[in-house]
């Protein structure tokens, strides 16, 4: 029966090819066949099929079919590779066998045979590596209805923790894998799209809007929010350390690589996808029930996407575009978000020895914001949750839930107008391209030349009208202002350029295999920001041209980094592997005394289970690989921070000079030296996999912004004086609980531990990376403490509950969890699949400024003893900040979803495939804290791209819940 189906399928397929003009099916020397899953017999489209020794290859079409024409040899070897499956090599005798073949692939639960690129120059089998590479397939990516790369990766990569600092569109995230290696550079990994380094700024820029750009004002806008997520084939993530050594001075936080689809082979496959959903604010953590009613409403969300994928043996193309719109959850559509994504990629063979790959991506992202965090004046959540309604505007009873309906209606009308009159818009246009040529001039040698650009333009506009000011200040008739209206514009233009030339040579000598990689890479980033602000404007103005007063500012930064690298991977008997490599970098941000910086790596791995003596154990223990490595990666300093400069400003219509930077000719990258040992294990015929790693990374020459001794009159200066230690275990497992033709049930879990400590501050005084004045709350870097621990006043109380003293600037807890990880389950029953992802953390603390304000403004006692309030009222509110710090253990379910693939019998001939999916994002939170443990001020007090560990919740909304249905049709 199966054969009959296959034959009918093949017949139809080749008929179709004939119709399309591609089918030279009459050749007698051809190889054709189909690649399917060993268990489910489902076809595997996009599988790489190579005829070994003939230097010919193709990929399977949408039905899993492949075809080679004009094969002259009788005996051939066909090698089939598909992501997530074990590579299979099949001997094929063209004269004896039928010219049609079905190749069944076994799922590669451990991903050992996966070919990865990140950190390896061109590509290499995971099996050879002494380091870990995590990857996410297009199937995993496409089922998560997120528009953001960081949200896609949230809870999907075993040791990468990603937390969204806020729920407004475009908010920054806190992404970190192996702790916090830097007290200066943000922990966000660098991001490459098709080999091109792109803007990954995940903090406020130097110049920005009050609702997004200022460091203490809540959610800043992240460049990760508009990385095109269309048409992704695969995402790889590698940890900072030996894995990222080849990226040199710029990779201590790890690397995320995004690879786009370059088209399949065969007829054009058209996919149309439509998503409809509802977004609801997550109000789980609000103190007042009525906060929800004041600010939020359900918003309609929709996304429509269309893609075309296809090609021929020599050419592949993939086009995709989408439109996304959500009303957002804020009243008056103040969090409305519209986004357009376009991606085109193609590959073309240039003769027999070269292939050209090209991808273009364009994203347009527009959204609205409202005042949040510490924006001051009327700021929504501070007004309600912080108790500031007591004195804001006309002043209200700030115990909002106790208001009578009439009183509440008055407040609601005030809030409604205050929200409606806000006008903060962000508009991002982003264009990316990657162009590469892969050349195979001689056998076993591959050369890749790549050039690419990322150009991102962000425009933020905030319009503050006199009407808004008069309303929120409750100005009395006759004393309304007409002169304080303002428009603030902030532009940020980022241009990134990447050039890379890499060669890889593969040599087999007896039992030895050599994989030699060498190359050079250059990237340069230009970051140009400008602010142009008009004040004293009439209401109704949309540009600053009519303003009575105009001010402007500019920020410019440019950096060029260029280096050469070499790596050798030596294999023996395909089970002993040894690798070493070196990158040398120069960088325009280094001080004048600093020349080339070298980053070495060395590693070894051993596939124990491939030894003959292991055969008897294979039923129980199917795979054992042990590995160890050591590598150095870096973070380069801020461009031009090494120079001694004079700064200028205008003052009373004349030029005014002053000290600029103190200068540091010895400024160099911080270096993270990571040692790692680990093992990859599989049991019960790969049904249980277990990965165990232990790492210790020591950052030396850590970059600290050191405040100058005030007697020098100089400003703070960046210096390489610190040492930071991170160490921990990374354990991940995947268990195939059930695996048969109808059922597939997989569960996965990752557990990571982390110990982080600043082991040496080089004599620098403690400094703040996210927070306010030392008398309130800060997250601080200090010798002997974890990076970004909470520091504030700690109160002591008598037995009666009256405050007896306060310890200034006490340690109130770490913001870094000592335990974190994620959990996932995938259940597939025939055509129905159900999945869920969650992540968790334990051991970290955060501060709620909302609670502290509620205490101060007498909304509630917040657990402070009545005796203290009776004795001192609220005046000690800042003397026991520790009472507003809570443990932030949490388990958050990020997504629960289900997909159903309709059988072809239902679809007839019109549709290739029809999928129906439903999902809920952020459905459940289980937290130890009374506030959302994830939201935080964005941080980056040390400047753009500065380190942050979160930990300060202050008037920031949580990520919304989304209820989404998706229909995907291919034809």
């Amino acid at each position: 029966m199966k054969n009959l189906q296959l034959q009918v399928g093949l017949f139809l397929y080749f008929m179709m090819l004939s119709v399309l003009g591609n089918g030279q099916v009459t050749s007698t020397r051809k190889v054709q066949g189909k690649v399917v899953d060993q268990i489910t017999s489902e076809p595997l489209p996009g599988t790489s099929v190579q005829l070994l020794g003939l230097n010919q290859g193709t990929i399977t079409d949408a039905d899993g079919y492949f075809l080679f024409n004009n094969i002259v040899t009788g005996q051939i070897k066909i090698q089939v590779r598909y992501m997530g499956y074990k590579t299979k090599t099949v001997d094929f005798d063209l004269f004896q066998n039928s010219s049609e073949i079905v190749i069944e692939l076994e799922e590669d639960v451990l991903g050992l045979e996966e070919v990865v690129i990140s950190g390896q120059g061109i590509d290499v089998e995971k099996r050879r590596l002494s380091t870990n590479v995590s990857s996410m397939s297009s199937e995993e990516i496409e089922r998560v209805p997120s528009q953001r790369i960081d949200q896609l990766l949230q809870s999907a990569v075993p040791n990468l923790q990603i937390k969204m600092t806020g729920g407004q569109p475009g908010s920054t995230s806190l992404a970190r894998a192996r702790g916090i290696v830097s007290a200066f550079v943000n922990s966000t990994p660098i991001v490459y799209v098709d080999g091109v380094r792109i803007d990954n700024l995940n903090t406020a820029p130097e110049l920005g809007l009050v609702t997004s750009g200022s460091r203490h004002q809540g959610a800043a806008t992240s460049a990760l929010a508009d990385i095109p997520v269309e048409n992704i084939e695969k995402i790889e993530f590698i940890n900072g350390g030996a894995a990222t050594t080849l990226y040199g001075s710029d990779a201590a936080n790890g690397v995320i690589q995004i690879f786009t689809k370059k088209g399949g082979e065969g007829k054009a496959k058209v996919t149309f996808e439509t998503q409809w959903g509802v977004e609801k604010a997550n109000t789980d953590f609000y103190y007042f029930d009525r906060t929800d009613e004041l600010f939020f409403e359900s918003g309609l969300m929709q996304k429509h996407r269309m893609g075309i994928n296809g090609g021929s043996e020599n050419f592949g193309y993939s086009l995709s575009g989408s439109i996304f719109h959500t009303d957002g959850t804020r009243i008056h559509k103040q969090n409305e978000n519209t986004r357009y994504d376009l991606r085109s990629s193609f590959r073309a063979e240039l003769g027999k020895k070269a292939t050209y790959h090209s991808s273009f991506g364009y994203t347009s992202n527009q959204f609205n914001r409202v005042r949040n965090g510490n924006a001051g004046g009327y700021t929504g959540l501070w007004f309600t949750e912080g108790g500031a309604s007591l004195f804001t505007g006309p002043g209200f009873n700030n115990k909002i839930d106790e208001l009578s309906q009439e009183e509440f209606d008055v407040m609601k009308a005030y809030v409604d107008k205050a929200e409606a009159l806000q006008n903060f818009q962000t508009n991002v246009n982003r264009f990316q391209t990657s162009q590469s040529i892969i050349l195979k001039p001689v056998k076993n040698l591959t050369i890749k030349a790549l050039a690419g650009v990322d150009y991102r333009v962000q425009k933020e506009t905030g319009i503050t009208t006199n009407e808004y000011l008069n309303h929120t200040r409750a100005a009395k008739p006759g004393s309304e202002t007409t002169t304080e209206g303002s428009i603030s514009n902030y532009d940020r233009k980022f241009l990134g350029l990447t050039l890379e030339l890499t060669g890889q040579y593969n040599l087999q000598v007896g039992d030895f295999s050599f994989l030699s990689t060498g190359g050079g890479q250059l990237f340069r980033n230009e970051d140009h920001q400008s602010a142009y602000i008009g004040t004293n404007l009439r209401d109704g103005a949309q540009t600053i041209s009519g303003a009575a007063n105009l001010t402007s500012d500019e920020y410019y930064s440019e950096v060029a980094n260029y280096g050469l690298y070499f790596q050798e991977s030596i294999g023996f008997k395909d089970r002993y592997f040894f690798e070493f490599g070196l990158r040398g970098d120069r960088n325009s941000a280094f001080g004048d005394n600093i020349g080339t910086q070298f980053f070495p790596k060395v590693g070894a791995s051993y596939v124990l289970s491939d030894e003959a003596f292991f055969e008897g154990l294979k039923e129980a223990v199917s795979y054992v690989k042990v590995r160890a490595n050591y590598g150095v990666a870096g973070n380069f300093p801020t461009p031009f921070a090494h120079q001694r400069t004079i700064a200028f400003a205008g003052f009373r219509n004349e030029q005014a000079a002053t000290f600029g930077q103190a200068g540091n000719a010895d400024l160099k990258p911080e270096r993270v030296k990571t040692f790692e040992v680990g093992a990859d294990l599989a049991f019960v015929r790969d049904r249980i996999s277990l990965g165990v790693n232990y790492y210790q990374s020591n950052t030396v020459d850590a970059l600290f912004v050191v405040p100058a001794a005030p007697s020098t009159g100089q400003n703070e200066q960046l210096r390489n004086i610190g040492k930071i230690e991170n160490k921990g275990w990374e354990i991940s497992t995947r268990i195939a609980v059930l695996q048969n033709k109808d059922w597939k049930v997989n569960v996965r879990a990752a557990v990571n531990t982390l110990k982080n400590k600043v082991t040496d501050a080089g004599g620098a005084a403690p400094f703040n990376i996210n927070g306010f004045s030392p008398r309130t709350i800060q997250t601080v870097v200090e010798e002997g403490q974890p990076v970004g621990y909470l520091r504030g006043n700690k109160g002591t109380f008598s037995s009666e509950g009256v405050m007896t003293g306060t310890e200034a600037q006490a340690n109130l807890g770490t913001t870094l969890p000592d335990l974190f990880g994620n959990l996932g389950v995938d259940i597939q029953f025939k055509r129905l699949s159900v999945f869920a992802n969650a992540d968790y953390q334990a051991g970290a603390y955060a501060h709620s400024f909302d609670r502290q304000f509620r205490f101060n403004y007498q909304v509630s006692n917040e657990g402070i003893p009545q005796a203290e309030i009776d004795a001192n009222g609220r005046k000690n509110w800042l003397n026991f900040t520790d009472r507003f710090v809570e443990k932030t253990d949490f388990l958050k379910v990020r997504i629960i979803g289900a997909n159903y693939t309709f059988p072809k019998t239902v679809l007839g001939n019109y549709f290739e495939q029809v999928n129906l999916g439903v999902s809920v994002t952020n459905p459940f939170n289980f937290t130890s804290s009374s506030f959302d443990p994830e939201v935080s001020q964005s941080g980056g007090s040390q400047g753009q791209n500065g380190a942050s560990t979160g930990g300060i919740a202050y008037g920031v909304v949580s990520s919304p819940r989304q209820f989404i249905a998706t229909l995907k049709v291919s034809f």
């Binding site: 070269a354 050209y356 001051g376 004195f391 030349a449 050039a451 000011l469 929120t472 200040r473 100005a475 004393s479 002169t483 241009l495 050039l499 250059l522 340069r524 004040t535 004293n536 007063n549 001010t551 440019e558 950096v559 260029y562 325009s588 120079q643 400069t645 004079i646 200028f648 400003a649 205008g650 003052f651 009373r652 004349e654 030029q655 005014a656 000079a657 002053t658 000290f659 600029g660 930077q661 405040p707 100058a708 001794a709 005030p710 007697s711 020098t712 009159g713 100089q714 004599g763 620098a764 005084a765 004045s773 030392p774 008398r775 309130t776 200034a808 101060n856 403004y857 005046k875 800042l878």
Partner: protein, 477 residues
């Protein structure tokens, strides 16, 4: 194959200079060598020093007023603990204060020793102003701190040594300058420096010289809101859309000294650095120290009639001021309030303004509640000394001087301590005289709403006189 590579290389080279010189970067900064070697550097640097003085005054005024009994921080911006007063060396405000004062001084050294000699366009008047501004920095070092390094990372110098440095700079400035106003400023600054050293003879000498030169003299420091150098005190008193700082109720009638009409950026009021009132106070205090009650009365009455009465006032719409910052909500708001300056004092009216009745008239340079009749009524040195210190408090309101009169001195910052081995443990402790109450009592009062009566918890002028022999306060006693 080659033609593809050539084509790509050609396209790349035509597409922008980034491709042609990919390792070249544009430096947006001006290095100090480039600056000093270019013409007219001294003028640019001198204006930078003026700007720095405006920034320095922002810190001394705002932080000084909060630390003293003059103003209470009724909201969340600026220091939340100097009101207590709690002053510790690790506090960022302590570091900011030291840094801003010493930056002005270091800019003075760089200007005088490096910039001016290389710039042919430097005039004596420009050099004189650099010396004067450096002298002001040293004067602040002596007035506000328990001790500070005399130069970058050097040994800690006693306040008196800083004042001597200041005087040397003022003398040098006088010798270089032809400008009468600049010379008078130097005279007044020297009188003030000697006053704080307790050197009655010299203080009196220079104070008399000032009154000869210009009995209405005032040296004001201007601001520039458009270029980001706003008068911080003006923001906290008037421009902020919230009610930030609240004055001690007895000073309510003098608030706000700084205000704006229209766009605040365009209307930033100056802060008085030196004014002739100082000379009258010095002469009066010296007379009291010599037990010459009548002479002191004459000085103070002259001050009232010849100076304060002549200083400008402004009619201000301050109706948005409702003292509703949030930390205290019991500030009096109507002019029918009675006020006791301490629990044992008689209740008097006239201190509280009703800002909702219409514009209020505020002295924008100097104002006082003291009358000639009250001065004449004093029968003892102590009575008049108390009146003198009340007048100092009122006249110098929102100028950052009261904290010095209270004998409070800020410590060396923790960051200096960690970087400078010359700093000893004794230098990182603030000087807060024993008679200064804690627990925010300096700003405290009770409000008897029913009887419309405010009672201040403590009258610090009375306390100062009671402690006049304490070396930290009342220099001539």
């Amino acid at each position: 194959m080659k033609k593809y590579i050539y084509s790509i290389a050609l396209a790349a080279s035509l597409s922008g200079c980034s491709f042609l010189n990919p390792t070249e970067v544009t430096n947006p900064n001006v290095t100090d060598e480039v600056f000093v070697d270019n013409p007219n550097a001294a003028a640019s640097w001198l204006n930078g020093m003026r700007r720095q003085l405006a920034l320095t005054l922002n810190q001394t005024v705002v932080l000084g007023e909060l630390t003293s009994d003059n103003y209470y921080n009724n909201r969340t911006q600026s220091s939340k603990v100097f009101d207590i007063p709690q002053i510790i060396s690790t506090d960022v405000d302590v570091n900011t204060l030291q840094a801003t004062v010493q930056k002005l001084r270091e800019m003075g050294y760089f200007g005088i020793e490096t910039v001016a000699p290389k710039d042919a366009a430097t005039t004596d008047d420009m050099l004189a102003e650099m010396y004067f501004l450096r002298g002001i920095a040293s004067m602040f070092c002596g007035e506000y701190f328990v001790g500070l390094p005399g130069s970058a990372l050097s040994e800690i110098m006693h306040p008196e040594q800083h004042l001597h440095l200041a005087i040397a700079d003022f003398e040098k400035a006088m010798s270089l300058s032809d400008d009468v106003s600049q010379k008078t400023a130097c005279l007044l600054a020297m009188a003030r420096s000697y006053y704080h050293m307790g050197d009655k003879t010299n203080a009196v000498k220079y104070a008399e010289d000032v009154l000869v030169a210009d009995p209405m003299y005032i040296k004001e420091i201007g601001y520039d809101g458009v270029n980001g150098v706003s008068n911080s005190m003006q923001f906290f008193l008037f421009d902020s859309s919230n009610d930030e700082f609240a004055p001690l109720p007895r000073l309510d009638f003098l608030d706000p000294k700084y205000y704006s009409i229209g766009n605040p950026d365009q209307d930033q009021k100056p802060v008085a650095l030196l004014k002739a009132e100082e000379a009258y106070f010095i002469l009066a205090e010296a007379a009291l120290a010599d037990n010459q009650l009548e002479k002191a009365k004459t000085q103070l009455k002259n001050l009232l009639q010849e100076v304060i009465a002549q200083r400008p006032t402004a009619s201000i719409d301050d109706s948005k001021e409702t003292r509703s910052g949030g930390n205290r909500t019991d500030y009096p708001l109507t002019d029918d309030y009675w006020l006791k300056t301490n629990p044992d004092a008689p209740a008097r009216t006239g201190f509280i303004l009703d800002r909702q009745k219409g514009n209020v008239t505020i002295p924008v340079v100097s104002g006082t509640s003291v009358t000639a009749v009250e001065i004449d009524a004093a029968t003892t040195v102590d009575e008049l000394l108390e009146t003198l210190y009340l007048m100092r408090q009122e006249v110098f309101l929102a100028e950052g001087r009261r904290v010095i009169d209270l004998g409070i001195k800020y410590p060396v910052s923790d960051i200096e301590y960690r970087n400078n081995s010359n700093v000893q443990a004794e230098h990182i402790r603030a000087q807060i005289p024993d008679f200064i109450p804690g627990n925010r009592e300096l700003d405290d009062f009770t409000n008897d709403v029913e009887n419309k009566q405010i009672t201040l918890t403590i009258d610090m002028n009375k306390v100062l006189v009671e402690n006049k022999t304490n070396p930290a306060v009342v220099p001539f006693f």
